[in-house]
Amino acid sequence: MNAQAMWLNPWISGFSFAESVPQWLLTACGLVLIYCLVIVPSGAVMGYLERKLSADFQARVGPNRAGPAGVLQPVADLLKLLQKQASRDWNWREAIWLLVHTMALYSTVAVIPLGSLLLLVDTDMSAFLPFWSALVLALGTMFLGLSQGSVPGWFGGIRVAAQALAGAFPALIALLCAGIRAGGFRWSEIAAAQSSSPLLWTAAANPFQFIAFFVFVISGLVLLGIPPMDAAFSAPDIHGGVSSHLSGRKLTVFRLGRFYGFLLWSVIAVVLFLGGWELPFGLSTELRNADSPRLLQIFELCWLLSKTFLLVLVVTWIAKVNPRSRVDQVTDFAWRVLSPFSLVALIGASLVAGWGAL
């Protein structure tokens, strides 16, 4: 775990007091910093993007009063939610949900790949941890739903469980496809297998990887309950399901988790299949040779986030334009369409990889 504080080094190298600070303190500060800089703003940015993008598709204007072009709208929403009077105190089930929820989100913070130098945990199982966190998130949400004494909560909880199981299997198989091509599941290995040119991205390598990319993104929607696969959180029939009884701070935590999950899945998809943070035209190697790690970190992060933004745009586009599917249709789709396609992609990708090794 000596890579923990490495990303911090270029930023604190100038300050003499930082030399004497023990390693664990630096690590802890780094984690808290990433949490504050990643999870909360990601929720805010995703919320703003969703509202503005859906307004663009629907011939509306969207938020434009809070700040220029409405960029402070998430701040206004957050303040409004936080100042609401709690309808009742936290009971022990909700406390457990909060614990599980935070653990799941936090565990991904350590693993989220935001650049070649911004990796905290880069082990052989790095790529799998976000996937397991999504399952744990689903578990927590299901627990929250089943603990509410009302029909919307029960249905929401059961649907979350069903969707999570249905979406997990093809997601995992598609993940394996990406790792097969890279030869491992370390972030650095996967990034190295795709250099800067789009033609060498994983998704463009061969048709099976292309199928795997689509299956990965769509099964992520099913797994996390993102529209148009959000039958577990649908408003018309079950009033939002699990969140039907939440308000104020609990709702903030819940929504932040959903937005962050969406962002996380998009970032993982970009890193696995769309070239990750490798800058075009070989800029990465140039900056590395020029020994300017701060610039490298910033550029890689921006490149990664812009590709993520495009993916989020496409998914939001499809979500707003298409009707929501019924929950049994979603799970049908996951088991009967996504899973066979993912298996076909896996077999094909393995054959191609094996052929190349011959």
Partner: protein, 188 residues
């Protein structure tokens, strides 16, 4: 999104090959219809032509909100009564479907002059149907196009157009004027 041929795996119509073909056709249909729906949204994302521009009316920003002058001439907004022309015939009070108009009138010096002491329209009850303006003979009661009449207190919603209750001094003056007219007539 997507799905398989209706009828579960127990219903194998024909050969395995045709089932797989049907399955792939279904998947293709799903992809095609999703793509077709997405295509219709493209002009809204990129273009700004007449058919795909934003239609939000950003009230009260003058950038794109309607003011009373923009409305068609017949728009039924808040009512106003020109008390100079009003004859106090109470037809509007009689015809109003919700009885929101209250009129009190009495003759002043002579029968040609009517003093409308009370003419109250309670806009918390008014449904803006326009019947009162339609039946007004002297055409003193009219709909304006004004639609911004929100107030902070409910009693403020009552609009008073009347001249006020007749004071005892006025009554004396009228009696004197009436006497004078009588005297003039007798003299003539």
């Amino acid at each position: 999104m997507g799905g398989v041929v209706t009828g579960g795996p127990a219903m194998m119509r024909g050969s395995v090959f045709s089932t797989i073909l049907g399955y792939l056709r279904d998947v293709l249909w799903g992809i095609r219809s999703v793509w077709g729906s997405c295509l219709t949204a493209i002009p809204y994302l990129f273009g700004s032509g007449e058919l795909s521009k934003e239609v939000t009316e950003q009230y009260p920003d003058p950038i794109s909100s309607k003011i009373a002058d923009d409305l068609p001439p017949r728009s039924r907004g808040f009512l106003v009564n020109d008390i100079e022309r009003c004859t106090g015939c109470k037809e509007c009070e009689r015809q109003c479907p919700v009885q929101c108009i209250c009129v009190e009138a009495e003759p002043a010096t002579d029968d040609t002059k009517i003093w409308v002491s009370v003419f109250d329209i309670d806009f918390s009850k008014c449904v803006f149907c326009g019947i009162c303006a339609e039946v007004c003979q002297p055409a003193s009661l009219k709909h304006t196009k004004n639609f911004e009449g929100a107030v902070y207190e409910l009693p403020e919603l009552v609009a008073s157009f009347g001249r006020g209750w007749v004071t005892p001094e006025q009554r004396l003056k009228w009696a004197k004027l009436r006497q004078q007219i009588e005297d003039d007539r007798v003299i003539l």
